[in-house]
Symmetry: C2
Subunit: 352 residues, 2 copies
């Protein structure tokens, strides 16, 4: 586990009043599942892509690897801007700031073909919350329509969605949503899959101050003091405390599940993201722990589940939660895709 | 019932091959519910607004009244571009082509205050499908974000949504979605309300040819020949066949329910809309009749219901319809608002 120091670069801006700095905590999240159309799937593995090639790929994205841990099932990287998870056939790249992950898409597909032995893209999920400062992003990430244009040029059956209020807080998603084939055809059952994400803004300044070098000497202290280590037990944790502030952590289980948390603590633009794919029949307890830990003013929850997932009932559970503690639901949407159900809910402390 | 002739103005455009004409069938749909904050609600009535004032209002929208029918509950107007329905406290304006209905919003609110005796806007629904040719629209209707900017300047708790695929077929909605007040407060139960809309494209040319002066002498003949008169029985129908083609109809019931159909029959840009608020516990039969009547290549269904509506189970019914006859569902979304449940579904003939 490498532990060299790295500063997440803050953008300094002129303001009428004074010079203020800004950092966009909101991440772009790219998840791709690969498959083979022949019998070589046994040997195909994304982890065959050499580290040097991954490093070159991340240069295009404008970030770098700062820490790494792995087990038989998954490679987990902490990046200068968020995280990357690579398992046999699933690639996840989550990057904040002004990074450009969609620019690495074509090179990534080439690397996968060259080194990993996969022939097909089985599914794609590109998602993000609306930015606080879209004007500071680099092309094509300034505007969702531009991002969609890039994705549409690569994927023939991609569909773009906006969940939540387009003029307030919302969440964009691009995914493959191919036409349903004959319902009677005997398609193979998909691998169980589920993802829970909680994106939080307007966080409690006292909690946020934990994630500064002023209050904590190192990441381990911040992880423990905040209670992050208690959210999902039995995770091997790789955490990182940035200079002068900011925090990232990856957690992995022996079975290959992951969790990841990224924190932008500055009160003017505080943001925390939580994501996991751990198997559970209910996410209620995790959601409670996360929001009690970070005390956001507002947060959005998204839950993806496919039909073979143990969490298949989790979207319905979120749909029934009009209140969670002192947070009231402001928006709720549900989308039914060919292979996945997705529920989006947005909560804020009352009164908003 | 006035029956003067009127041509819906087609826009002629230069094409590489030849001069082609175009008409945007897709409507902008504005529905506003008014209320009073005092005891004058008994006397308040939108139908007190003089006809001359409505005509001036519609000049701002760039359309005019071409036919009218009414009963104790509702005034129904056929317009040069679609329809207008006015009942005691609900105003509905649905206009196609390059009309500008949002520009009449402020003048309408003034008229309502001056003549109708209402003090408050209780709810607003502004919706439309994505246009076939957004570039031909006039400001602010070219872009949904521009429309939202105008609406946001008037309504403090407005929220904007996009349902369906933003890069394919989608449906935009702006509505009031105020924060929930304490769940235990004894708010008065809302009036039962429901709206079913079916927006169809790529229609059967043989069916569409009915709605031309070449094939039918008058509107009554087109209404009967197409089977429109059998979709919802016991409606008083006010229909209009345009020169050289195009069709509009309003239907009203004694109880004040309405239905309205608008048809742009040209094969290059065929479009049919169906809308009704009739009370039913199931919309399955109406949906079937409508799509069997018009034979669209693609269509979207939207169902709004509030908690006191008899149709409260209708959204769930649509959510379970993955196939309707030879049409397969491509998209399904559900939004839970404070006062309404909304389901959106998009179907296309297989293979798409």
């Amino acid at each position: 586990m490498s532990q060299f120091r790295c500063s997440r670069s803050r953008i300094w801006m002129d303001d009428n009043m004074s010079d203020v700095q800004f950092f966009e905590g909101v991440e772009k999240l790219l998840e791709i599942w690969f498959s083979t159309n022949d019998n070589n799937s046994k040997h195909a593995d994304l982890r065959k892509i050499p580290r040097s090639r991954l490093e070159s790929l991340l240069k295009i994205v404008r970030c770098e690897i700062i820490s790494f841990c792995s087990n038989d099932q998954i490679d987990a990287y902490v990046l200068s801007e968020s995280s990357m998870f690579i398992s046999k056939r699933r690639f996840i790249l989550k990057t904040c700031g002004t990074t450009t992950p969609l620019l690495c898409l074509q090179p990534l597909l080439l690397l996968v073909e060259q080194y990993a032995g996969f022939t097909d893209v089985e599914d794609v999920f590109y998602s993000r919350k609306n930015y606080k400062r879209p004007d500071l992003q680099a092309a094509p990430h300034r505007d969702f329509y531009q991002e969609v244009t890039l994705l549409d040029a690569i994927f023939p059956h991609g569909s773009a969605y906006c969940l939540g209020s387009m003029n307030r807080d919302c969440w964009y998603l691009y995914t493959l949503n191919p036409p349903r084939t004959n319902a009677l055809s005997s398609e193979t059952e998909p691998d169980p899959d589920q993802t829970l994400e909680i994106l939080m803004t307007d966080l409690d300044p006292d909690v946020m101050s934990i994630f500064t070098r002023e209050e904590c000497l190192n990441a381990a202290e911040a992880t423990k003091k905040s209670g992050i280590d208690k959210i999902v037990p039995n995770m091997v944790i790789d955490d990182y405390l940035f200079e002068p502030c900011g925090y990232s952590m990856n957690g992995v289980t022996k079975s290959g599940c992951y969790m990841t948390i990224h924190i932008t603590p500055e009160p003017e633009f505080s943001y925390v993201s939580f994501e996991t794919n751990i198997t559970a029949t209910s996410y209620r307890e995790i959601v409670n722990k996360v929001i009690e830990t970070f005390q956001p003013g507002k947060f959005m929850v998204t839950v993806f589940t496919n039909k073979t997932s143990a969490a298949v009932g989790a979207p319905k559970e979120i749909q029934n939660l009009t209140e969670i503690g002192s947070w009231t639901r402001r928006d709720m949407q549900h989308i039914c895709f060919k292979n996945y159900d997705l529920t989006y809910a947005f909560y804020s402390k009352f009164p908003s």
